[in-house]
């Protein structure tokens, strides 16, 4: 979605305007049609009445004489330029032609004498310049002169202009309605969205310094509540992560203090006076030890910070579980024997894992198990395959870990006993590295400690064959 952000208010206002325009126009068109039909009916009725009157009127021979002698009278009688009247005998020169507009008269079949005139007899033509033209032809019995034909017509200029005016008004009203509705809609929406703007302003003010602050859901519309809840949820998680991160930084700084203090102190003391070559060598060797410790800690911290699942997962292989268990037993053989611990490694199946990470995780667990294992006990390293994957267990005999410590064991720098006695060998990161490695493999990890047996369990999901 790289589209430009759009204004919801503007969009809805435009939509309102469109709807208003459309509905007013529809109504207008319906009314217009009704009006048009009514006007046509009226005009047609007028024509029928006129011809009817002429039928009666022309029965009298005097009237015919009058037409012949004073045609202007009839012209005036019609009173406007749109009307047409023609009286004559078929095939002869007409007796009277009133056609001020010089309109072309179409050929019309006259309505016979015995037929009474109705509206349907009026015929309509397109006329001049799109102005409709209506005409009616009828046969008249004029006594002496025999049968005459009358054609009466009218060009509907007036009607057309009335209708045009009406149309224009409909458009205008529709436009005004659209504009009004758009404006109302815009104002209403602007007001309606006020709570959102308040929220945005509030959210804007939340920073690192006041991560405990939460968005206020009071007075917020129902529709916005889920968003407020979600945002507050994000803040909760962020605040928690932030505290943890801060704790990790603090812990790391504390951890760094010990080796740096040793380096500084030993070196400064050594420089106080001249010493034997042996003493200097001892100092340097001790420095190397401390520096290696620092380098290891750095390496571990970077490992934990650089969680790049893609590259870890790309290098996964199918590893033989029995081989890997055996490798652990081989590696820790001497260390365990020193502590009087025997290693019992067994298992079967396949582990779908990145080999270095798997060995690192297992080695961390095994070295812990030996460090805290009771003398003359057994360290069991085992692999149990299942349909979904494989479970690796490292369990030792030793002091039971209190339940309250168990969930925190995998936290960075967490130690069950606060004394630094053993910290030369460990830096409190081993188990958090195990946790990170398991997360990279989308696996699970856990620990139980009961009746003097502590068991760490790692579950590696099996290989999912895709696209075969």
């Amino acid at each position: 979605m790289s589209r430009r952000a759009h204004s919801l208010t503007l969009r809805l206002a435009l939509l309102f305007a469109l709807l208003a325009f459309a509905s007013v126009i529809t109504l207008g068109v319906c009314l217009y049609r009704e009006l048009e039909r009514e006007l046509i009916r009226r005009d047609d009725a007028a024509l029928v009445t006129r011809v009817d009157q002429l039928r009666t009127f022309l029965n009298d021979s005097n009237t015919l004489d009058l037409i012949k002698s004073k045609p202007a009278l009839f012209q005036n009688m019609l009173g406007n330029r749109e009307s047409v009247l023609m009286i004559g005998t078929a095939g002869k020169k007409p007796l009277l032609v009133v056609n001020p507009g010089n309109l072309d008269l179409p050929n019309l079949a006259p309505v016979t004498m015995d037929h009474p005139l109705v509206l349907a007899d009026v015929q309509h033509f397109s006329g001049v310049d799109g102005v409709p033209f209506a005409a009616l032809a009828a046969t008249i019995d004029s006594g002496d002169l025999g049968s005459l034909q009358v054609v009466a017509g009218r060009l509907m200029t007036e009607r057309t202009s009335v209708l045009a005016n009406y149309r224009l008004r409909v458009y205008f009203l529709a436009g005004v309605a659209a504009l009004l509705l758009a404006l109302c809609g815009y104002l209403l929406l602007y007001r309606g969205l006020l709570p959102l703007r308040h929220l945005a302003k509030h959210a804007h003010g939340i920073g690192v310094g006041n991560l405990t602050e939460r968005l206020d859901s009071q007075g917020a519309p129902l529709e916005v509540l889920p968003m407020i809840d979600a945002f507050n949820g994000v803040l909760d998680r962020l605040a928690k992560g932030f505290v943890q991160l801060g704790q990790v930084s603090t812990d790391m700084a504390h951890e760094l203090r010990t080796p740096i203090n040793n380096l500084l102190g030993e070196t400064q003391v050594a420089l106080q006076q001249s010493r034997s070559v042996e003493a200097y060598q001892q100092l340097l060797a001790s420095n190397v030890e401390e520096l290696e410790r620092l380098a290891r800690m750095l390496d571990n911290m970077l490992f934990l910070a650089r969680t790049d699942p893609a590259s870890a997962l790309r290098q996964r292989q199918e590893l033989d579980a029995a081989d890997e268990m055996e490798r652990m037993a081989d590696y820790f053989e001497g260390l365990a024997a020193d502590a009087g611990i025997s290693i019992n490694a067994h298992g079967s199946g396949v582990i779908w894992a990145e080999p270095m990470l798997l060995r690192r995780a297992l080695a961390n667990l095994c070295s812990n198990a030996i460090k805290y294992g009771a003398p003359d006990s057994e360290l069991v390293v085992s692999a149990t395959p299942s349909s979904e994957g494989i479970s690796l267990r490292v369990s030792n005999h030793g002091a039971t870990i209190a339940p309250e410590h168990l969930p925190k064991l995998f936290d960075r720098f967490y130690r069950v006993d606060e004394s630094r006695e053993r910290s030369a060998q460990s830096n409190g990161l081993g188990l958090s590295i195990v946790a990170t490695i398991m997360q990279l493999h989308s696996g699970r990890y856990g620990v139980t400690s009961e009746n003097g047996v502590t068991c760490f369990e790692l579950f590696f999901p099996g290989r999912v064959l895709e696209g075969r």
Binding site: S311, Y331, Q425
Partner: protein, 223 residues
């Protein structure tokens, strides 16, 4: 062995120069990329140690230009260990890389590997003083006395015997003997070496396994 070190950090440059010279190598030091490239193109070296982050011309650029002219083995030194950085170096034609901080013994071991020409022939019989190792039969005798070793103890002794007079770092030993390629917090290597000594050295007058304080171990007939 003729080594060119290109390193702008003064202390690092000095200790690399001194350390490698003390091991008997002929070493030239360039303090920046431009000088380094100039030297590399002018003289023929067996191997070049190249720092990545340098002012004016960085290691990448030096390598890019060098590769147009010569294929001297190059070992990169870098303080960054992003995967992308490693791949970039190897794509440009670097032969190996080390992440700072690294142990000096590790650097020396890598340099030796880089300059070794052709695959070394696996010796079937190894003889160090009165110690005899039959690699095929995995049989070890010293002064005619048969010594029984576990698999990993034998692998460790074999590693020592094939790297005589060289200081081997703990991480190198862990990597070669157990295939554990990470710095472990445990002293597994020390324990393993101590147990090997118990069998190979303790009963005899002449000691072969020597601790090199702060670095690792050396297998040598000289104390």
């Amino acid at each position: 062995m003729n080594i060119l070190v290109v390193e702008d950090e003064p202390k690092a440059g000095n200790y690399l120069l001194n350390g490698l010279q003390e091991l008997g190598y002929s070493v030239s030091l360039a303090r920046n990329g431009v000088d380094g490239l100039h030297l590399a193109l002018e003289t023929s070296f067996d191997v070049i140690v190249l720092d990545v982050m340098m002012p004016k011309m960085d290691g990448w650029e030096v390598l890019r230009r060098l590769r147009k002219e010569a294929d001297t083995p190059v070992l990169f030194l870098s303080a960054r260990d992003d995967i992308a950085d490693r791949i970039k170096g190897l794509e440009l034609g670097a032969d190996d890389y080390l992440i700072k901080p690294f142990s000096f013994a590790e650097l020396v071991a890598r340099l030796r590997t880089l300059t070794r020409r052709g695959p070394s022939r696996e010796e079937e019989q190894l003889q160090v003083a009165d110690l005899q190792i039959d690699v095929l039969k995995r049989r070890v005798t010293r002064a005619g006395v048969r010594i029984t070793l576990t698999n990993k103890e034998f692998a460790l002794l074999h590693l020592f015997a094939t790297h005589q007079d060289q200081v081997l770092s703990r991480s190198l030993i862990a990597s070669r003997v157990w295939d554990m390629n990470f710095d472990s917090d445990t002293n597994v290597v020390d324990v393993a070496v101590r147990r090997l000594r118990l069998k190979v050295d303790d009963p005899f007058q002449l000691k072969l396994i020597h601790s090199v304080r702060g670095i690792g171990y050396r297998f040598d007939t000289q104390p």
